[in-house]
Symmetry: D2
Subunit: 314 residues, 4 copies
């Protein structure tokens, strides 16, 4: 399936998939399929699974593979699937990476471990990671200091890109990070570094500006992915006011979803309420939504849907 | 000036004041006065100075006192002024606290040092701090894990309240933190703990919900404080949709201002553009706004003002 | 093999085993066997495998199990074997725990993840962990703040002991930690908490004092385990000066081995030089010993051996 | 007093001075004088005050200056005095630095704030610090990751040395750090970077090896500084076995003193018992020595003194 390998030309919206569980905590295959179809219908140009928001550390190794296979088989090549392979050690990373690439993944995503401190440590880590996954496996750098506690300067990112031709994408979720996109894009324009795809995470909180700074799209899991698709397309068409209007209607819920730890529970609740997954169960350790929280999410969804912009059908 | 001491009945909006500098970095006294008047005109029920967003660690001890005196003299007892006295040691905390209370402060605010880890360490720290500032000095607990890296459970906060009658307020900026407000309010309602004032920080990002959960107001420095005042009042009057509508019009800029490190520079720029302070200078170390960032702030201000809700006159 | 389950009566020296690799990074089974025999000959009363110093995060799941089986089969019930099952998630912890208990482990060891902050979070985490490993699996709390960044007060440890009858041991490696042992032992003496075994880690750096404070032995991997055995026995026999004399002769190397990150490489080098393992290979990421470092270790070994106390034959 | 400015040729033992307090917490001037004389008699070639172990954050600004003046006046130019000026902001750093240089300090020492992450952030911070203290004030880089959480590669240290001619010394206390000394010395030998003085901290735990790697001496506060002096001199004279023998006799207490937080209380207790300071009082927050801890220190002192190498008279 060589034609589906991830490249530096990737763009659009790669939806970060949660891992749906039954209420007893088992993998929910039916919901997985329904979710994949809903995301594709919403306009996803790619999917990303087994990331931080996919509860990947809570899955047994076999479960991760089962889930990956299921997604890949449902997607059936319609869009590229990126798989998070961040792991405590290179043996686990190597094993998972090989297995998912064998069943059709387009590439893998790697976040740095929280112990890295210096520039050189970060650059070396990615060199070792490439050795672990193989130089022919396209990979995404996940730059998410709020979660990883690792700060990568543009210079460090450029060193990683230069040392590894298989680095094809930056998942940008530094915070603040808008000037970082500008710096990287300027460096590519001036020929200092190969241009890679930049898709933005961080819950989408700055998406319209990120697009305007030179990002190619989003890689995040906001529970109304059609909004992400809409914003990306409107910005590309130069329809700036409309893009911001659309985005701002969703911003109250986007913000609510970016609450650390709680965010995934919020997201799964919305997906359940929208009929996309059957249960909003999280595996332990994970928060439970209080009645007050649920009422607030309901209120936010109602306000979005009243503005007649939020349905998958839109 | 005993009548102006901070009490558990405090409510409304305590605006967090930045420290205005001339373009060469000296204290800007004229801007300080203008800012105080603008905040009072916007409906502030109190002011807070020398907090994290007041660049307090960047001031020499004499400058802190000069600035505090200037603010107090301009306020002239119209509203209570809370002063941040967080310091690396109790000698400095004690000295500053005594001096500002002598010149009319209503109370002081104390954030825990980032080295604290266990519940008992946190509770002991506040006992020692009360010894340092004196048991007759009303104080505010600043609960801001994103900045301090110290996580306080509701139980810990209740222990501090119980051990110190001079604890009159919680500056709530845990994130996520809505359920924490609910827990604390329920505990007070059930008689488990004395009720203290809860004012919310975190840039105001969740203000309408925080009010609905039982907060008494806001303590934050968003550059359009009249919006904070409006939201607090609308929620108190039970006009929920209007409160959220007003808040949501500002949310794009509120979000933009919550970017760590960059946020204060954004805020000072907006205050300058609104004619409230003369220069948006930050002392080192501090970020510089890029042209792209300035253009984005301009865009966000324009959208707010076009919606005819943003002027101080409103 | 119920008779070999770990109990609160455990004492002596549980040697922390490194995982021996061939020079190409594969598991070295022959060295594993030789190492096990050397440790038993040195007087180990138990072994601990797949801990932090066992490079467990660098092993694939299958390798961990292979190694555990090999050790268990070589030990053949002569002493209890404790297996580290700390994992990023409960599914992995549960799986590994079940498998190693099935092949004869005496119990498992669990370190808290670095994200835990409050007392309640730590206590809850261990409750969830017990659910994952099963209430009939004896477990060891690993209290090692320097590595985990989680600080557990004596009160928290006592809450975990009380909530879980299957908690049978504390691996004590807080630093400083001598008063913690005294506090826990006093609490048991006064009937406030069930008495569990306390074995000390931290490279053995405070072993004689730890024994005098009430510890039951050591659980660490110093490359001359016969010294650990000697010290534990001498202290139990009340021969204090001799215990300290023996310990102090080794302290220069003990100290050298406690260097973070570098320590394991030092230890493997000594074990290789003593003929216990064939190669001192570490898996990536791991330090390489410089020629200067090697010369220093050689010097320290020579000084120990010249003092005629260091050989396995002693 | 220009002739006493600190230079890159500094060597020997700069004793880190604690700040002596009366039992009620006030500065103890008489003990300060006695301590200074004891350190000079022990062979100190310099003194360092107001460092982390000098409880500097617990002193009011006036107290710091009073203490610095007292030390300088007692030293009366016999040896250089280095003053710690690390502060939360540059205004405070600048003020203290100017004042202590005015009263005769030879230079200042600056540790990086714990918020720094990337290589460039560290290098910029030192550029700003030099601006704050003035380019004519000699300064020492304090490289102490265990306390600061900032990791500086040799490359970063070399960039700071190159950018600031006033950088004359590295206080080396990275851990592990022996290879760092070798790398820096090799870089100087090869002409890649100007040679600065390297004095070693970290409680002296690796002093003999550090000297052999190319350090110029020690900057630490072990309570028997005559041992530090002896080791430095013996190594310089090439008497290696004697140096290690002397060091190893003290290592049990050196190790005991390196316990984080507790260490300073141990050190003050030893200094009190040796008649050097009157009280071992620490300001809050600080640990209290338990009876068991005191008995252990007594035991360690007895063993050192029995070996007839420990007295100031030796």
């Amino acid at each position: 399936m060589e034609e589906t390998l991830l490249t530096s030309a990737a763009e659009g919206v790669y939806v970060i998939c949660p891992t749906p569980f039954e209420s007893d905590g088992r993998l929910d295959i039916a919901s997985t399929d329904r979710m994949v179809e809903a995301y594709l219908k919403a306009g996803a140009t790619g999917l990303t699974i087994l990331g931080i928001m996919g509860e990947s550390p809570k899955l047994a190794a076999e479960e991760s593979l089962t889930f990956a296979k299921q997604v890949m088989s449902t997607v059936a090549g319609r869009v590229p699937v990126v798989v998070g392979v961040s792991a405590a050690g290179f043996a686990a990373m190597s094993g998972l990476s090989r297995k998912v690439m064998d069943v059709g993944a387009a590439g893998v995503m790697i976040a740095p471990p929280s112990t890295l401190r210096t520039d050189d440590q970060i650059v070396s880590y990615y060199a070792d990671a490439v050795e672990a996954i193989g130089a022919d496996t396209p990979f995404v750098i996940q730059d998410y200091p709020l979660a990883t506690n690792v700060v990568m300067t543009p210079k460090v990112i450029m060193r990683i890109i230069e040392q590894s031709p298989s680095c094809v994408m930056l998942k940008h979720e530094d915070w603040p990070g808008l000037d970082k996109i500008t710096t990287l894009r300027r460096a590519s324009a001036e020929g200092q570094v190969r241009r890679v795809s930049i898709l933005c995470g961080n819950g989408g909180l700055f998406l319209p500006f990120e697009m305007e700074r030179g990002a190619d799209g989003a890689m995040t899991g906001y529970a109304y992915p059609e909004m992400l698709v809409g914003v990306v397309n409107l910005i590309k068409q130069g329809r700036r006011q409309e893009a911001h209007d659309l985005f701002d209607r969703h911003l109250p819920l986007v913000r609510y979803e970016t609450q650390p730890n709680l965010g995934l529970a919020v997201r799964k609740y919305v997906l359940k309420k929208r009929g996309i997954i059957a249960s909003d169960t999280l595996r332990k350790p994970g928060p439970k939504l209080s009645p007050e929280t649920i009422a607030e999410i309901d209120w936010l969804m109602e306000r979005i849907e009243r503005s007649q912009q939020g349905s998958l059908a839109a």
